[in-house]
């Protein structure tokens, strides 16, 4: 039993949330990129904002030999480079004292026993009170080993009055079978309410704002259904290529890397019914219903409604860039998709017959993630009798960069004739709210420390998402020879086949 957090009367009216309980955060994979670029800078920013518990210990767990002092220096360098706030020496000095390094192989049981002893010592020295947050920032193929060794060392169970939680970084498996296996492995040691599957898209301010936009504004919800919405587009475009992730990406591809998690999470937020309240499970119950309602493809339908692409040589921002197959670490005959577009149907009353088009790609001309809701056209009367047919109203929710919301509507062009043009009403977070939003990892780390799972994926969400993705992957695998892979030049908006996917329905992709 964890100590119950009683309401603090002094918190009433304050804009900050209660500080989480003291705890030790153990990061597996402490020498990796994620720890350097995101996790430790995020923890520093939480400390600088005064939201970190007064007693906290951050223990980096990794293979390379290193002293606490070396680890602190490395982390200081990384934080100075990647933190959203300038690092202040006096805050860093205090924060650095809470950083520790624990050297061990992931598979070395004795290393976990030593970790347990060290955490006990830290409880006494730093006052972390037996609360543990294990962050798996290591490669997913190490998860099973880490979980099993944590259990053997008794670290999965907190002592009375304390808690133990685990944060898993994506990917949560590579298909339904492996996801189930991973979930079983994790749950053999940590129960579902101890498990936090992180999807950093959900920590973004605009992603959280989707619920506010939909359910706090009376004007949208009555229109948010098949009667008024023609279709929805969800786009995640990036100019970057595979960078230094070829090893992982070759085995994953765009569908597994982005669609299974980030884009389906966004689809859930757009498609879900209003939850009964804002508790984590109330929201996640509604999200999982959406994933369950996504119509599964037959093998034939995959060929019709899913487009795979891979970038060939081209140019980004006026500079030539190599083809995917020429990238370092990529098989020259690689069949991995760097682009995928699909037409999804959600079989429920709200979304009956409303296609949802999802696309994600690397080496596209612009980086940006957004959701666009395309409303049905106004009836073909009055102004629409003119030669030009007015555009649809489009509500765009920009997730990144330049987070905000815009609404395209029709207006009369000044003059004696009734000429109609599209105009845009635009809301930019950066313009309206000068204060910078915390990074997604800051919010998510704080939530995990506080035991709030709202912005984390639940087991059934993950498994349902894989069940859908598997129908596509399996159809591709069933084909004789490699599945169709459409080329697109780097710097273009993807293969022509993706345009045809919409053209068949009389639609076009929204220009970002």
């Amino acid at each position: 039993m964890t100590e119950k957090q009683q309401p603090n009367p002094l918190r009433e009216g304050l804009s900050t949330k209660a500080v989480p309980q003291p705890c030790a955060v153990v990061i597996f994979g402490a020498t990796g990129d994620l720890t350097h670029r995101k996790l430790v800078p995020a923890l520093y920013n939480i400390a600088a904002d005064g939201e970190l518990p007064p007693a906290v210990a951050v223990v980096g767990f990794a293979r390379r030999p290193k002293s606490d002092e070396e680890f602190r220096q490395e982390m200081e360098e990384a934080t100075r480079k990647f933190s959203r706030q300038t690092v202040r020496d006096e805050i860093w000095d205090g924060f650095a004292k809470s950083l520790f390094y624990h050297q061990s192989e992931f598979g070395d049981e004795a290393g976990y026993e030593r970790l347990a002893e060290r955490l006990d010592r830290l409880d006494k020295e730093s006052g972390t009170r037996g609360n543990r947050l294990f962050y798996f920032a290591a490669s997913p193929d190490q998860f099973e080993t880490i979980v099993q060794n944590l259990k053997k060392a008794g670290l999965n169970k907190a002592r009375d009055g304390s808690w133990a939680r685990v944060i898993l970084e994506k990917p949560f498996g590579t298909d339904l079978k492996s996801a189930r296996h991973l979930n079983r492995v994790v749950q053999s040691s940590f129960s579902e309410d101890q498990t936090y599957r992180i999807d950093h898209f959900l920590g973004k301010e605009t992603a959280q704002n989707i619920l506010v936009l939909r359910f706090a504004n009376a004007i949208f919800e009555p229109l948010w259904n098949a009667r008024y919405i023609d279709h929805v587009q969800i786009t995640a475009a990036e100019t970057l290529g595979v960078e230094n992730r070829a090893g992982y990406y070759e085995g994953a591809g765009a569908l597994r890397d982005m669609v299974q998690n980030h884009l389906l999470q966004l689809l859930c937020l757009v498609g879900m019914e209003p939850p009964t309240d804002l508790r984590a499970d109330s929201i996640r119950d509604e999200k999982v219903k959406v994933v369950r309602s996504i119509r599964r493809f037959s093998e034939e339908e995959v060929g019709i409604y899913v487009v795979r692409g891979q970038y060939i040589k081209g140019a980004i921002a006026g500079k030539s860039v190599a083809a995917y197959r020429e990238e370092k670490g990529v098989d020259p005959q690689s069949q991995t998709e760097t682009y995928v577009a699909l037409r999804v149907r959600v079989d429920n009353w709200r979304w009956a017959n409303v296609p949802i088009y999802v696309r994600v790609g690397k080496r596209l001309p612009k980086s940006g993630t957004e959701i666009s809701v395309h409303f049905k056209k106004a009836p073909q009367v009055l102004f629409n009798r003119e030669s030009q047919s007015p555009d649809q109203n489009v509500l765009v929710i920009r997730i990144q960069p330049d987070e905000g919301i815009s609404l395209r509507m029709q207006a009369k062009v000044p003059g004696t004739s009734f000429r109609i043009e599209s105009v845009k009403m635009d809301f930019h977070y950066g313009t309206s709210f000068g204060k910078a939003s915390p990074e997604a990892y800051e919010r998510l780390l704080l939530d995990a420390m506080a035991g709030d799972a709202t912005l984390f994926a639940r087991r059934d969400e993950v498994e349902e998402a894989w069940a859908f993705i598997d129908t596509i992957e399996e159809a591709w695998a069933e084909k004789e020879g490699p599945p169709q892979l459409c080329d697109y030049p780097a710097g273009s908006w993807g293969p022509e086949e993706a345009d045809e996917l919409l053209a068949r329905d009389g639609r076009t992709w929204r220009r970002l």
Partner: protein
């Protein structure tokens, strides 16, 4: 940076105040002629303000984005207020896009007249690509024309946006119901009030007049925000939560002139923790708290000390001490917690600044009613 987008001689003749923004900073105006000092802007006829504003935006050639989340009306009778408030608005608009209506009034003037200026404050947005501009309309009212205040405010509001009225003077009866019925939030600083009780009665009467619609926003209360957060976080944890019921003494060190700030802090603790005044006598600082064994006395001491408005706060319980220090000029609070026999902990937490821009910015970041403030005032009303 303060600018106006049309050519013409700067109006005003008010004290020049430096912008404080270094050349090349993110708030530089890139494309528009700009002044080096804050003045009230381009002089305009009151009846032509809309037209002149339109011209001003047309002249920008669409390179700037006009943004506004609120109407922020600022009223002052201080002689140099137009220049000073323009400088303040310039900083506020970096984080809070608004239509600012800055009013300087001189009710004692024998002359009677109204002068008006328009200007815009432009900053590079967070995204770093757009110039985001907030409009400022400035008015100088003299003599009898000071009675035009409601009309001026009404005529210049950006429609549908809430009206925040920052009243930099003491309140004077009679309160004009016509004006106050339109106000969503009234911002004031009770620290400058000579008679808290009388002023508060006026504010509350105004609030009643507006059918409780107005939210009272006291900058003196806002001064306590970081201290309140720091104290609250002591008691978030179940292991320390029980100390709330065992507070024996509270000691606060405040700068001269900030006794009212310290009293509001005492009122906050008393209101939130259910303390009762131990004596009905006015000016007595004794409190009692109900405990399982009856009632426990709480000794409250206020000590004057040069430095930050609240430079130290010490809460003592049966078995622990919670201490916060704010060293002069520091923007971090030094926070200590120690059990009589046991662990001691130290933490640095944001302190904020006793700076009017920061206080107003903090206030603008908040929403909702200030019930906790009203509860705090109620506890110490007769001491203020």
């Amino acid at each position: 940076m303060n600018c106006w987008l049309a050519t013409g001689a700067p109006g005003g003749g008010y004290d020049a105040i430096s912008s404080g923004n270094a050349t090349g900073s993110r708030n530089d105006l890139i494309t528009m002629p700009a002044t080096e000092a804050f003045t009230a802007g381009l002089p305009v006829e009151v009846g032509q303000i809309d037209r002149e504003l339109k011209k001003l935006w047309d002249a920008s050639g669409g390179v700037m984005t006009r943004a506004s989340l609120i109407n922020l009306a600022v009223y002052s009778e201080a002689p140099d207020s137009l220049g000073r408030n323009t400088a303040i608005i310039s900083q506020i608009t970096e984080n809070h896009a608004c239509r600012a209506i800055v009013i300087a009034a001189d009710p004692e003037s024998k002359e009677s007249g109204v002068e008006a200026w328009i200007s815009a404050h432009c900053h590079v947005s967070q995204a770093g690509r757009k110039q985001v501009c907030s409009e400022q309309l400035s008015f100088l009212l003299k003599g009898k024309q000071c009675g035009l205040l409601p009309n001026i405010v009404f005529a210049q509001l950006d429609s549908d946006l809430p009206l925040y009225l920052w009243w930099q003077e003491e309140f004077r009866p009679p309160i004009d119901p016509q004006l106050w019925a339109w106000v969503d939030r009234v911002i004031y600083d009770s620290k400058i009030w000579r008679n808290f009780g009388e002023q508060m009665r006026l504010v509350e009467a105004t609030q009643r007049e507006a059918r409780q619609r107005i939210v009272l926003c006291d900058l003196n209360w806002e001064r306590l925000i970081h201290l309140r957060i720091a104290v609250a976080q002591f008691f978030d944890h179940p292991a320390t939560h029980h100390h709330l019921a065992g507070i024996k003494a509270l000691e606060i060190k405040h700068a001269p002139g900030f006794r009212s700030t310290a009293l509001l802090f005492v009122g906050w603790l008393a209101g939130q923790l259910g303390w009762e005044r131990s004596s009905a006598k006015a000016k007595s600082l004794g409190f009692r708290q109900k405990t399982d064994d009856g009632k426990q006395k709480i000794k409250v001491s206020l000590l004057r000390k040069e430095g930050e408005p609240i430079s130290a706060c010490r809460i003592t319980t049966e078995s622990a001490v919670f201490r916060i220090e704010h060293k002069p000029g520091a923007d971090l609070l030094d926070v200590f917690f120690g059990r009589t026999e046991g662990r001691k902990m130290r933490q640095l937490l944001p302190a904020g600044k006793n700076d009017v821009v920061e206080l107003v910015q903090e206030e603008l970041m908040r929403g909702g009613a200030h019930q906790v403030y009203l509860r705090a005032v109620e506890q110490v009303r007769d001491l203020l």
